[in-house]
Subunit: 457 residues, 2 copies
């Protein structure tokens, strides 16, 4: 009768230790979001399918989890689709709701729906799970949290600056050194395509360029040739393959390449504004770098593009990204609303902190003291002390049963509880408690006030 | 082209103010859970359908949201069910996963699946959303959070005591006076059925008794008669309709009624243990009361039954409940694991705190100071100050655009930001900032350190 329990592939149970560590990251990020003036919103886990479908391309549509209509859903089912055995065609008639695929589309929907209650520019953050029917693999899950901060309703480049500072502040709070905030600009990429006379091949061009890290210069050139980009064109942008040096030095090279492109010059100007501001207000822990190969869902971003890479010592890839997207809310009928946002990759940040041993010890600290249960009268004596300790914010517990001493001690040991209190008849008669340090075995007989003081420190 | 955006019925968007207030409740509850030694776990939003189906009765099965299989789901569809147009029969073949309906069944599944990693007794808390395809109505949603704390793996009555203290501590932390923690015991209810000779009508009997509040004594008796409970039987339990006085006085009456029932006597003993402990360790804010009409999903609970009612001045009903359920994990093959747990009704607690004005003002406090943007140079001057204030944990923002003064002031006003800083050429030349209090209109010219001090207080 009994089922062997399991969970769906690509999903996870989180143990107390994991929840504590995840919450530490969430709380750190939240604290910084708030300090920068971002306000939290939350949206429902499922949206009307019409809100989500068609917003992420065909592949996205496929990966959205659909919720089956309740009750006798076949009554409204598309009979043609049934006859044709066509799952794709049938879906809209038996499923009206779908699980959130990201936080950006629901945010855009929220802004449009609540536009009359919102003061623009609107700085919001949102930390909620999203779901994707992706093939699960190492580090890729079907349920995972996104942590996003966005501003909507202003074109100001100060926001670009602020997001660099926000990234820096979060990683400083997490104690994560060696992070690089890479920045690029969509207009620079458009500029490249313009100056090489391949404006219509912008996407092929940038998709290839984005792979420079992985397939190297020759690989990128090969892919460009395969996409019909001419040798002459490739030669024209040769200098970007060997861009190096400081942010300013890279900018100087770009200025030469992009001289004739208005778009390109505009992109450079935006990058310089950000660089200049960060020079005036130096970052605390991260490094800002210009990376012209950075594309990240190019069709989406219209200005700044960000990506954060983990310290080089850790093989991890990007732990955050974002950018500016004009017309964020256009899909829902509210025009001319520029948005810019960043997100943090929780799962990867978790792995990085774990690998580098950066979770503070206090994060997973649990019960401080276990009172051994010697029977009904002793337990009452213990519970009164437990209550007093709890009132001092000391996490104390009574072992619920008067089990064998060895069993209770083993429990304290396995749970890594640092102290136990032994209080039997003798202690009760003297109004004392025997405190035992689990590791050292050291014991002392204390009254309640001394016990409090001792456990507080 | 543009869609008029909306969200599925029974779901909600939460504004920054609402999120802040909800988080205040969550954080308060969490703090108390932790102080009592409970540890957090999290489970996936969707479970395998086989984990959930059949655990909540037919009505529950109907209300569980099912997730449509991805891809060409019709390929594996039950052809017979399709031919017969039978939605119910078709479902298992096109849907393998379902959204969590509560936190108790996933917790039981978690305990069984991870039994080798857990030290028992295991005190866990869990705060996550659940989903039910209920007909939405005032105060009833299709997505809502549950806040549960449970202990599994011990029969000790100290846990019953501890949950009363936990409820008390949470409501004290929330500043909510006038709460009553009502307690009953399933064994007392069984005792009633025994002594009136209607053992097999236990459920009919308690379902009727549970309605005493709503339909009154005559209503309850009428329902009992309709269910075939004899006049003689009803007369035997006549005293419970007029139970009043203190906990102890009620116990005395019960002792007389239940004299001949072993079950009943056991139930009374358990209630007395709890009452005695609470007398020794008085509650801080709540009142403990015995309510023999309390049943709450009787088939589930086997010992203590809790329900918390809001202060009488607020028309709200129960804001929490719980109880002991032996054999929590039996459905997943792990026998003899007694569990006891309580839950908090977030949405109702929210309404109560709102009605009584108990949310602290600091909860919704947002940005403290807005720097007016007078142009690029001034903005840089402002941003440097903003950065310094943020480093002191003062939430400061620069208006991102050098818009008209009136527009920027109106923005500060609408967002309830208490201060603005005006810093133009004159201030810059003197290294000063003009701080303006929005309500009083009071202005002062301050250097950066004085500005920090002023805004910190």
């Amino acid at each position: 009768m009994a089922q062997k329990p399991s969970i769906p592939k690509g999903t996870r149970d989180f143990s107390p230790e994991e929840v504590a560590k995840r919450n530490y990251i969430f709380e750190t990020i939240k604290k910084e979001f708030k300090r920068f003036g971002f306000q939290p919103i939350e949206t429902p886990s499922f949206e009307n399918s019409s809100t989500l479908m068609g917003k992420y391309g065909d592949e996205g549509d496929r990966l959205i989890f659909k919720i089956l209509n309740s009750g006798d859903f076949l009554r409204k089912a598309d009979k043609d689709a049934l006859t044709q055995n066509d799952s794709l065609k049938l879906t809209p008639s038996i499923s009206e709701k779908a699980l959130r695929y990201d936080l950006t589309v629901p945010f855009a929907r929220y802004v449009v729906q609540h536009q009359n209650e919102i003061e623009f520019p609107f700085k919001r953050y949102q930390i909620q799970p999203v779901w994707r029917a992706d093939r699960p693999q190492k580090g890729r899950f079907r349920e995972f949290f996104q942590c996003d901060a966005d501003v909507v309703g202003s074109n100001s480049l100060w926001q670009e600056v602020e997001f660099v500072q926000l990234y820096d502040s979060v990683f400083e709070s997490l104690g994560l050194e060696g992070v690089t905030i890479k920045i690029n600009n969509r207009k620079v990429l458009s500029g490249f395509a313009e100056v090489i006379g391949e404006k219509d091949k912008l996407i092929d061009f940038t998709v290839a360029l984005d792979k420079l890290d992985k397939i190297g210069e020759e690989g990128v050139k090969k892919e460009m040739r395969e996409k019909g980009i001419s040798e002459e064109a490739i030669n024209k942008i040769q200098p970007i393959f060997s861009l190096h040096g400081s942010f300013s030095e890279k900018i100087d090279v770009l200025k030469t390449i992009l001289e004739t492109s208005e778009n390109g010059r505009k992109g450079i100007e935006e990058l310089q504004f950000i660089q200049n501001a960060i020079e005036e207000m130096p970052l605390k822990i991260a490094k800002l770098d210009l990376d012209v190969t950075l594309a990240r869902g190019l069709n989406y971003y219209t200005g700044a593009i960000y990506e954060v890479s983990a310290p080089e010592t850790v093989k991890m890839g990007s732990i955050g990204g974002g950018g500016r997207y004009d017309d964020l809310t256009g899909i829902f009928g509210l025009k001319d609303m520029s948005g810019i946002g960043i997100s943090f990759g929780l799962d990867r940040i978790y792995l990085v902190l774990e690998e580098l041993g950066l979770f503070p010890e206090t994060v997973t600290q649990n019960t401080k003291v276990l009172f051994i249960n010697f029977g009904e009268k002793e337990a009452m004596y213990a519970m009164k002390a437990v209550e007093k300790l709890r009132n001092e914010n000391i996490v104390a517990e009574l072992y619920p049963d008067s089990a064998k001493m060895g069993k209770q001690m083993k429990y304290a040991d396995k749970r890594d509880i640092p102290y136990v209190v032994l209080a039997g008849e003798e202690e009760m008669s003297q109004e004392k408690f025997t405190l035992k340090h689990m590791k050292s075995g050291e014991q002392s007989s204390l009254d309640i006030d001394t016990l409090k003081e001792k456990l507080k420190s």
